[in-house]
C-alpha cells in the first residue's frame, strides 16, 4: 500500500532511487542537487541498496562512468544541476547516441555566468537537443512519479534512450511537501529486476560499442535515434496509464488546468505552475475565462497535442524561465508557436522571460500576464517578446 510522507523534492528522488535499487550510481555533488547523491551514498554505505556507487572527480566523469555502466548492461542513475550538467554536455550526446537508457535527476539551477545557485531552466533547456527525453515536474510528488516512470520509458525496447527528470532547484528540491510514495515491493514490480539490454559489453557475446561512424552510416544512425524519440511519445503514455492504475495519479504530455472554455492561457514549466494555478482560480472566481498548460514532457515535444489543446483560446502567453538569447524569444516559446503554426492559426502568441537566476515570480506578475492577454484580445495591440519582473 502507498504511504503518505513529508519529504523534500531531493529526498523524494533519493528515496525513489533507493526503491529502484539501480546497479550503478556515479555522481558528483553540486548545489542544489547535492543531497540526492549524499542521501543515496548513505543508503549504499548502510547496505540498504545493492548499488555500486562510483565517487567520481567531476560531472564529466560521472556521465562517462554512467555510460560505461549502461553500456555494460546495468541500470544506471545519477543527479546533477546547472554547471554540473554543463560539464556533462559532451557525454550527454554520446550517451543518447549510444542508445543507453539512464536516468538523470536534474534540480534545475541557473547556468553560469554570472554564477548563481538559484532556480531557472537554463541548464536543461540548453540540453534540450542532446537526445535525452526530458520530463518536468511541478512538485516533489511529480519528481518522484516521473523518476519511477523514467526507468521504464528509457528502457522500453522501442526507445532505449536516456531520460532527464527535472524539478526546480530549492523551490522543489528543498521544500518539504506531503506526497504519496509507493511501497518498495510495488516499485520493484513496476520497474522489474533487470534492465533489458539488447546489446551489452557484459553479455552473451562480445560487442564493440562507440565505433567511428563515417558519412555512409552516421546519418542512418541519427535517423534511428530520431525515430526512438518519436516512439517515446507512445511509450510515455503507455507507462503513464500503467502508473495511473497503480497510483491513481494521471500523467500525460502536459497538464491542462481549466482549459475547457479558456480564452486566455499561459504555458509554463515546473513549480511556477503552482503559483499560476492560484491566479487562475482567483481570476475564474471573477468570471474570467483563463486557463493554464503545464508542460511535463518537453522532449519528445508534444507539438500536435499542444496545438490541439490551444485551438480554442484567443491568446496564449508562453512563459520561459530561460532565455535563449536568440533575440526571438525563449526556447519554450519558439517550440509552442511553431507547434501552433498551421494547426492553431490566428492566435495571439506572446512570450514572457521570467524568474532568471531565481528571481521570485509573484501572483501579481502572473495576473499582469493574463491582463496583458485580455488587453491584446480587446485592442489587438501587444508586445510579442516580454520580460517579466526585471528592472529595466
Amino acid at each position: 500500500m502507498a504511504k503518505r510522507v513529508s519529504l523534500s523534492g531531493n529526498e523524494a528522488v533519493a528515496f525513489g532511487m533507493k526503491q529502484i535499487n539501480p546497479d550503478v550510481v556515479a555522481a558528483f555533488p553540486i548545489t542544489p542537487s547535492t543531497e540526492v547523491p549524499q542521501y543515496f551514498s548513505q543508503f549504499v554505505a548502510n547496505g540498504e541498496v545493492d548499488t555500486e556507487f562510483v565517487a567520481v572527480e567531476s560531472e564529466h566523469s560521472a556521465m562517462s562512468a554512467c555510460i560505461g555502466a549502461a553500456a555494460a548492461g546495468g541500470r544506471v542513475m545519477t543527479a546533477t544541476a546547472s554547471a554540473g550538467l554543463a560539464l556533462m554536455w559532451e557525454m550527454l550526446y554520446v550517451g543518447a547516441s549510444m542508445r543507453l537508457p539512464m536516468v538523470l535527476a536534474v534540480t534545475n539551477r541557473a547556468l553560469s555566468g554570472p554564477i548563481n545557485i538559484h532556480n531557472d531552466h537554463s541548464d536543461t533547456m540548453g540540453a534540450r537537443d542532446s537526445g535525452w527525453i526530458q520530463l518536468y515536474g511541478e512538485s516533489a510528488q511529480e519528481a518522484y512519479d516521473n523518476l519511477i516512470q523514467a526507468i521504464r520509458i528509457g528502457e522500453h525496447k522501442d526507445v532505449q534512450l536516456p531520460v532527464m527528470v527535472c524539478y526546480d532547484g530549492f523551490i522543489t528540491s528543498h521544500a518539504v511537501e506531503n506526497l504519496e510514495m509507493l511501497d518498495d515491493e510495488e516499485v520493484k514490480k513496476f520497474v522489474g529486476v533487470k534492465r533489458e539490454a539488447p546489446f551489452a559489453l557484459i553479455g552473451q557475446d562480445p560487442v564493440s560499442m562507440g565505433p567511428l561512424d563515417l558519412p555512409n552510416h552516421y546519418f542512418e544512425h541519427k535517423r534511428l535515434q530520431a525515430e526512438a524519440m518519436k516512439n517515446a511519445k507512445k511509450v510515455i503514455l503507455e507507462i503513464a496509464a500503467e502508473y495511473e492504475k497503480l497510483t491513481g495519479r494521471k500523467y500525460g504530455f502536459f497538464e491542462e488546468y481549466k482549459m475547457e472554455d479558456a480564452e486566455a492561457a499561459i504555458v509554463v514549466i515546473n513549480s511556477t505552475a503552482g503559483t499560476a494555478k492560484f491566479v487562475v482560480d482567483n481570476l475564474r472566481a471573477q468570471g474570467k475565462k483563463v486557463g493554464l498548460i503545464k508542460i511535463r514532457v518537453f522532449r519528445p515535444f508534444p507539438a500536435e497535442e499542444l496545438a490541439e489543446a490551444l485551438k480554442n483560446v484567443k491568446a496564449v502567453a508562453v512563459m520561459d524561465k530561460a532565455d535563449s538569447f536568440s533575440a526571438a524569444g525563449g526556447p519554450l516559446f519558439a517550440e509552442v508557436r511553431s507547434a501552433m503554426y498551421g494547426r492553431a492559426d490566428g492566435k495571439i502568441v506572446t512570450n514572457y522571460i521570467y524568474g532568471l537566476g531565481g528571481r521570485d515570480v509573484t501572483t501579481t506578475q502572473i495576473e499582469k500576464v493574463y491582463a496583458d492577454l485580455f488587453n491584446a484580445i480587446e485592442t489587438g495591440k501587444y508586445e510579442v517578446y516580454n520580460y517579466l519582473g526585471v528592472r529595466e
Binding site: D23, V24, A26, E52, G68, A71
Partner: protein, 102 residues
Amino acid sequence: MPNLKELSKKKVRFTGGHRMCAGCGAPMVVNWILKALDDDERAVISNATGCLEVSTCLYPYTSWKDSWVHTAFENAAATCSGTEAAFKALKKKDLLMESISS
C-alpha cells in the same frame, strides 16, 4: 612468468584487417598487452579517441574479439570505472550469466 615463445601461443584477441598504418607499433602493443589475459577470460576494453580507436572499429567492422567501448577522448578510465561498477553490481545481484561470472 611465461616466456615469449609461450606467450606467442596464446589466443589472438585483436585481428588484422584494421586501418592502422602498415608498420604501426600500436596494434602489436595491443596484442601483447592482451596476452596478460588467460585464454578462457573475457575482457572489456575501454579505448580513448585516437588512431587506435578510429582505425580498429570503423562501423560496421571491428578488430576486437573482446567487448570494446569508446565514448570520448579524455575519459577512457572513467568510462571503464562505470563498466567495472556494473560488473560488480550485476555479480552481487546474481544477474550475470554463468560464463562471465568470474
